[in-house]
Symmetry: C2
Subunit: 415 residues, 2 copies
């Protein structure tokens, strides 16, 4: 681990802040991410607005000491940049007390894209490092309520996406993956906790937090409780032996934070543990960081189903460049890594710190041209996607069934 | 069956209408029933307001012809006075096509009272006459959301009340009784249909229909879909072999109609059958027909757990009298059966038509005194409650489990 890299993340945040002093407020909620700045959302401001804490050097140093290994480069590079109560989770781990991981996905499209991998890659690392159980919620009900999808189609997409998630390498002995539509009919504790949460939250609150209106369907109004419920160990009596006091750590993109602010508000009133959080920045669209990559815009996305040629063509054609307009201009002024999408993608997917730093230096100085930067990225992504496709092809229906079976999971500590 | 008796019911409605010409509008929704008239709610006006149909002589004559026996005295006496699509149900029965019955109860109190028996007594008669399956929903979730009750207590009350309901004599081979909290975790079709309904209904609609506000908890907002879902046969795939086209008939007090107006509105948009309905009037409080009997006001109610002495004392002390202030006045002017609570209760529970008519005549003429009328009622109720208690004592935990087990039920017609 390099202190420079951590500072690199911090530096980025500062640059963004400067870029955005005069811009309009970013829009960040579970359904919209929009920034008027080419450098993207101002995450420093978001930390203040949401009331979370910055992942600082002290936290990372403590984490490395406790886990006795370097932290994931997502942490070093500021990709996971914000947290709530992560020190509490480290305290638990230090004292050999149990906790669990919770993350999820809204299955709105057949093919997942690169951005969707981020929370799962990171969650897998957390599971490997902390040896803890993980629950993964597929919100097929949410997608049915929000999108022009039939219930059957939303449910089918949950199972398709489950294969991509399993292909990220989760431990089948420590992972329970569920579709809301199916799990609701398998365990009454899920519905019971949903009702307990729904009794504590009024319409005014969800209007304020999520921007709902009276024209929204009543399913949307109640949904926040459905995403909140898996934060509580009592939702999964078969995993946690009916214990309701096991805390949870949620890695997610920061746009999901409103759900968990609400959850943390409600938890003490129910005598339950507040979930801790680790927040990531958004994965930018090919066109630039003003918006995040979205599966509903095929040109903004590289899908996990794309061929090597599709990847190459999309990067070459669409990836927003921070380089000069001409070779001469680029040589003279250098490239801007903060707004260059190809460089941003390398920060997400190139695990070799030295090589990344070399690219940053030579691209910034104008020595490395955009074409070469893109070529480097194309190679990284072609390998990443091909490897993913290979692993996904191994995920049979039987494997999916295994992950989705309510059952006991393995714990490192069970005291 | 006597045509007089039918006309008696109709006459009552007319009397009420006259009494109420100058009164304020009655309040009738699932949580409030209030009338400013001593004769109670104006049911003729309610039929017009709700857009339902009066149960008229033609319908009753047709029903008797089809079932080849007299209709229940609740129908003859105008206790069930309003319907939606009952002719459609009779058409089905005539052509040997299946339908099912659905009713329910919100378990808010340990002891049920006399008024709670009405829909169940009538539903049992419908089951016996039409030989059809019946589903009974215990809305423990509703009571948890609305009342100052823990979830565990609401769920426990559901099982306690289930014993009283089973004691009404339902056929175990044709009856599925369920708690929402428990059934939700047993069958994903329940939640799936709830979501389908919730997607079709917006906040504006439930505010208009049920009077909800932004200060209400988000659980209440979604609840109408939970009461609606059992109207659809696809909610119970284990009973109906996954068929979603089997229509439903719902006997209930008219205050529950808003739920089913909503259900009927949504059904065609989901490609599902509109439920038919049979509506009853309210069972008056001991203090008179301005309000219905309520378990939360012990002095207004006769409970199914009351002793013979408690029944006697409550009737003598509280039952609102339509008789004269003095014996002399009563002899001179006669009693008013329309506002006399003891006479109203006899209409609900005395199945002997001749005796009831004799009482009506002699009480109206002033010949029969209030004390004797009350004595007659006390005898009827003491026997009714004692018989109920005897049957309830036979309902073991094992019997409850049997009724609450999701399973196939018997059909007269399965085509």
């Amino acid at each position: 681990m390099s202190v420079e890299s951590v500072q690199d993340g911090v530096q980025d945040l500062k640059v963004n802040e400067e870029n955005q002093d005069e811009q309009q407020e970013d829009i960040v909620d579970p359904w919209n991410v929009a920034s008027s700045s080419t450098a993207g959302v101002n995450y420093e401001k978001l930390i203040i607005k949401f009331g979370s804490s910055k992942i600082d050097e002290e936290l990372l140093t403590r984490m490395e000491k406790i886990i006795q290994q370097p932290v994931h480069y997502f942490l070093r590079r500021g990709i996971f940049f914000s947290h709530r109560d992560m020190h509490t989770i480290l305290n638990l781990y230090e004292s050999k007390k149990p906790f669990f991981l919770y993350t999820g996905r809204g299955p709105s499209s057949e093919a997942m894209h690169l951005g969707h991998l981020i929370p799962f890659m990171f969650t897998k690392w957390l599971q490997d490092v902390f040896h803890v159980p993980l629950v993964i919620q597929m919100t097929d009900d949410e997608k049915f309520l929000w999108k022009d999808l039939t219930l059957e189609e939303a449910n089918r997409l949950a199972y398709e996406n489950a294969k991509d998630i399993i292909a990220c390498g989760f431990d089948p002995e420590k992972t329970f993956l569920f579709s809301n539509f199916d799990f609701m009919g398998q365990c009454s504790n899920f519905y019971k906790n949903i009702c307990r949460i729904q009794k504590c939250v009024n319409v005014n609150q969800v209007k304020n937090i999520f921007g709902f209106s009276d024209a929204d369907c009543i399913g949307k109004i109640g949904f926040p409780a459905i995403q909140a419920a898996p934060s509580f160990s009592s939702t999964f009596p078969f995993i946690f032996d009916n214990r309701k006091d096991i805390p949870c750590l949620i890695p997610c993109a920061i746009d999901q934070d409103p759900y968990f602010r609400l959850t943390r508000d409600v938890a003490p009133r129910l005598g339950l543990q507040k979930p801790a959080l680790l927040h990531s920045i958004f994965f930018p669209a090919l066109q630039g960081a003003k918006s995040k990559m979205s599966a509903s815009d095929a040109n903004s996305s590289i899908f996990l189903t794309d061929t090597p040629k599709q990847i190459k063509d999309k990067i070459n054609k669409y990836a927003f460049s921070g380089g000069g307009q001409t070779v001469e201009e680029h040589r003279a002024k250098g490239g801007n890594c903060d707004i260059d999408v190809s460089f941003q993608y390398l920060k997400f997917f190139m695990d070799n710190d030295e090589r990344l730093e070399e690219i940053r230096k030579t691209y910034s100085s104008g020595e490395l041209l955009t074409g070469f930067l893109k070529k480097e990225l194309i190679e990284v992504l072609q390998k990443l996607v091909a490897d993913h496709q290979q692993r996904r092809s191994q995920v049979t229906e039987e494997v999916v069934r295994q992950f989705m079976q309510p059952r006991k999971l393995k714990f490192a500590f069970s005291s």
